[in-house]
Symmetry: C2
Subunit: 347 residues, 2 copies
C-alpha cells in the first residue's frame, strides 16, 4: 500500500513539475546593473525545499542598497518580501497549494552558530535575494520548507507581502524590553520607520516619530502616532529626551541625532543598513553616558502574521504603487524616489 | 535642652574645625602639567557636606588619561579612589570619625536627569578629581554626605581603596544579565580588567582573560581564571567565540578584537575611556550581526564593600607600589609604566 501511495504521489509530483515552465521572468542585478530577464532558469526543489510561485513582492530599502553596491556585489535575482503559493515540495504534498510567506535566511545547519540556534547569523548563510540565493522579483523562488509560514485567509496578499518588514520591526521587541512608561523616539518615517512606529505604539509607550516628509507623518497621525519634522526634533524633544531611540532613517546622519536624543543609560537601536561609510562615533562618550547600542535585523514571522490578521498593524496606507513584474526596473526606480513608500511587484 | 545640645555640638564642631589646618598638600593638574602643591587651600564643608581626611588613595587609568588631556582640560586636584576619615560634617556629628569610601559623581539635584534618578549622569555634575571638584590626591577632600559609604572593620584601607574600581566592575552586572552558561571574554589584564575578570568569575560563567603581560595573566591564574596572550586570542578562541566581550584594554585597538570575538547577537561591553580618537565602526555590520554595544562606567558601592569584606574579591595582588603624597608626581609616573598595576598614594 505504501509503495502504491508513494507511486501515486510521485506521479502527481511529476505531472505537476511537468506543468511548470523551464524558464521564468526575473529581475536580476548584474555587474552592469539591473536587468529584466524574460528567460531566466526556473528554480527546482530538492528534498526539504519548496518552489513558490510568487503572487506579490515588495521593494525594500535593502534592495535599493544592493543596487547601490551594499554587501559588495550581490549578483542574482533581487527581492525578499513576498507572498506566494507552493507549487513544488518533493515528498511533502501537504504543502502544495499553500499560501505562504517565507523567512529569508538559510543557514548551513552545521556550523557552531547554526548549532547554537543562531542560523540566521550563519557565516555561510544564503539570504533570499541578498546573498547567494535568487530572490522574489521573479515568477518563482526556492526556499527550504522550514522557512515557510502559512498565511491565513484573513490576511490579504497586499498585507502578507508586509510580513517580512513587520517581523523586522517586531525584532526590536524580541531584543529589548519596551515598557509602557518608556519614552521612545523613532527616527525615519519611511517604509520601515512607519511599521516600527506602529509596533512601538502597541506597547503603550510615549512615542514620537521623527520624519522629513509631512505626508508620511500624516499617515502616522492617522494611526494616532505623534510625528514631528526632523528639523524640529532637537528643539521640540530636547537632548536626553528619550529612553529608547530607534534609528531607521537609512542614512548615516541618523546616528548623530539619535545619540543626541537618547538619555544617559538609554538605548539606541540601529535598524538601518546602507552602502558606504559609517559616521564617526566617540566611544568614550558611549562609556561615560552608559549608552546601549543595539543592532537589529530580521524578526519573527508568526507574530507578524498574527498582528496583520487581527488588524493591529495596518499596511494599506503604506502602498505607494504596484507594477507588473515586466516593469520591475521601473518599480525599483519609483521606490528610490523621495516620498515613495512601499512599491509592490506583481508577477 | 535642645538648645543646649545644639550649643554643645556647635562648640565641638568649632573646636574640631579650629584643629584643621588652613592649607594642605595636594597633587594638582595645571595648564602646565602636574604640580605638587604644599600649601593648597583645604576644603571646608557646608551643610550636607563632609570633609574627609584621606588615608589612602589609588591611581586609576582615568587619572593618567586626564594628564594626557582626556575631558579636554580638567584643572584641579586629581584622584577619585580613596578611603579616609570624616573630620567635618556640619550638623551631622554621627559621621565624625567614620571610616568611609565615597562615590565620585555629584549631580545638580534639580535637572530632569537628576529627578529621574540619573544623577550620576547629570550634565552639570561634578566628579571628584575629574570634573569641577578637587580630588583625593591630597590631605583632605570634600564630598556630600550622600556620597559616603561606611567601611566596616573587616575591610582594610588597602582593600577599601579598591571599592570604587570594584564598583565600576560590578556595574556590568547591574546593566547586563551574565548567565552561568555565558561565554565571557575580558580584554585587558590591567588594573580594571583584573577586577572585572574576578567579578565575572563570581557568575560561574565560562571566562577567558586576554592580556599582554604574562605576569598579570599569572595573577589571574592564581585566582583560577584562565588567561591567554592577546596575540593568541583570535587563534585560541576563534571568531564568534564569546556571548559577551568586555573591552577594558584602555586602547582604541581593543574594539576591533572585541568585535571579532563576540558572536552575532552577543554583547560588547565598553569600559575603556581614553584621550584621542575612537576607531572606525561599521554600523551596518552591527545591524546585520545584531550586536549589542554597552557603555559602562561607575557602579554600586555597597555590594563592592560587601564582596571585599567577604574576601570574594581579592585585591592585594594588584598593589604594585605605594608612594607618600609628597611623591605623588612620581606615583603617577610609575602608574603609567607598562606592567604596573595599582599604585597607592598615602598622605
Amino acid at each position: 500500500m505504501r509503495k502504491m501511495a508513494e507511486y501515486a504521489e510521485s506521479s502527481r509530483q511529476q505531472m505537476r513539475e511537468a506543468e511548470l515552465p523551464v524558464t521564468m521572468r526575473a529581475l536580476r542585478l548584474t555587474g552592469s546593473g539591473l536587468l529584466f530577464d524574460a528567460r531566466y532558469p526556473r528554480p527546482a526543489a530538492s528534498a526539504g525545499d519548496a518552489v513558490v510561485e510568487v503572487t506579490l513582492a515588495g521593494v525594500c530599502a535593502t534592495d535599493l542598497a544592493l543596487v547601490d553596491g551594499y554587501k559588495g556585489g550581490y549578483r542574482g535575482v533581487l527581492g525578499h518580501e513576498f507572498v506566494g503559493q507552493v507549487v513544488e515540495a518533493p515528498g511533502q504534498p501537504e504543502w502544495l497549494g499553500q499560501r505562504v510567506a517565507g523567512e529569508l535566511n538559510i543557514g548551513c545547519g552545521e556550523c557552531s552558530l547554526c548549532r547554537r540556534g543562531l542560523g540566521k547569523h550563519c557565516r555561510q548563510r544564503e539570504s533570499l535575494g541578498i546573498v547567494g540565493r535568487d530572490g522574489a522579483f521573479a515568477d518563482y523562488l526556492r526556499l527550504p520548507l522550514a522557512n515557510l509560514h502559512r498565511v491565513p485567509d484573513e490576511v490579504s496578499d497586499e498585507q502578507a507581502v508586509f510580513v517580512e518588514p513587520v517581523a523586522a520591526a517586531l525584532e526590536i521587541l524580541e531584543q529589548l524590553h519596551v515598557a509602557p512608561s518608556s519614552k521612545v523616539v523613532v527616527l525615519g518615517a519611511g517604509r520601515l520607520g512607519l511599521l516600527i512606529a506602529q509596533v512601538m505604539a502597541l506597547t503603550g509607550c510615549e512615542l514620537t516619530l521623527v520624519g522629513r516628509n509631512p505626508d508620511k507623518l500624516a499617515i502616522a497621525r492617522g494611526w494616532g502616532i505623534e510625528g514631528i519634522e526632523a528639523g524640529q526634533a532637537h528643539v521640540t524633544l530636547g537632548a536626553d529626551a528619550a529612553d529608547i531611540v530607534i534609528e531607521a532613517t537609512g542614512a548615516p546622519s541618523g546616528f548623530a541625532l539619535g545619540r543626541e536624543l537618547v538619555r544617559p543609560g538609554g538605548t539606541l537601536v540601529l535598524k538601518s543598513t546602507y552602502a558606504g561609510e559609517s559616521p564617526p562615533i566617540d566611544l568614550s562618550h558611549i562609556v561615560v553616558d552608559e549608552i546601549r547600542i543595539l543592532g537589529s535585523r530580521c524578526g519573527p514571522f508568526a507574530p507578524a502574521i498574527q498582528l496583520l490578521a487581527s488588524g493591529r498593524i495596518r499596511v494599506h496606507e503604506l502602498i505607494s504603487a504596484e507594477f507588473p513584474l515586466v516593469e520591475a526596473v521601473a518599480a525599483l526606480r519609483r521606490a528610490s524616489q523621495p516620498g515613495v513608500l512601499k512599491v509592490l511587484i506583481r508577477p
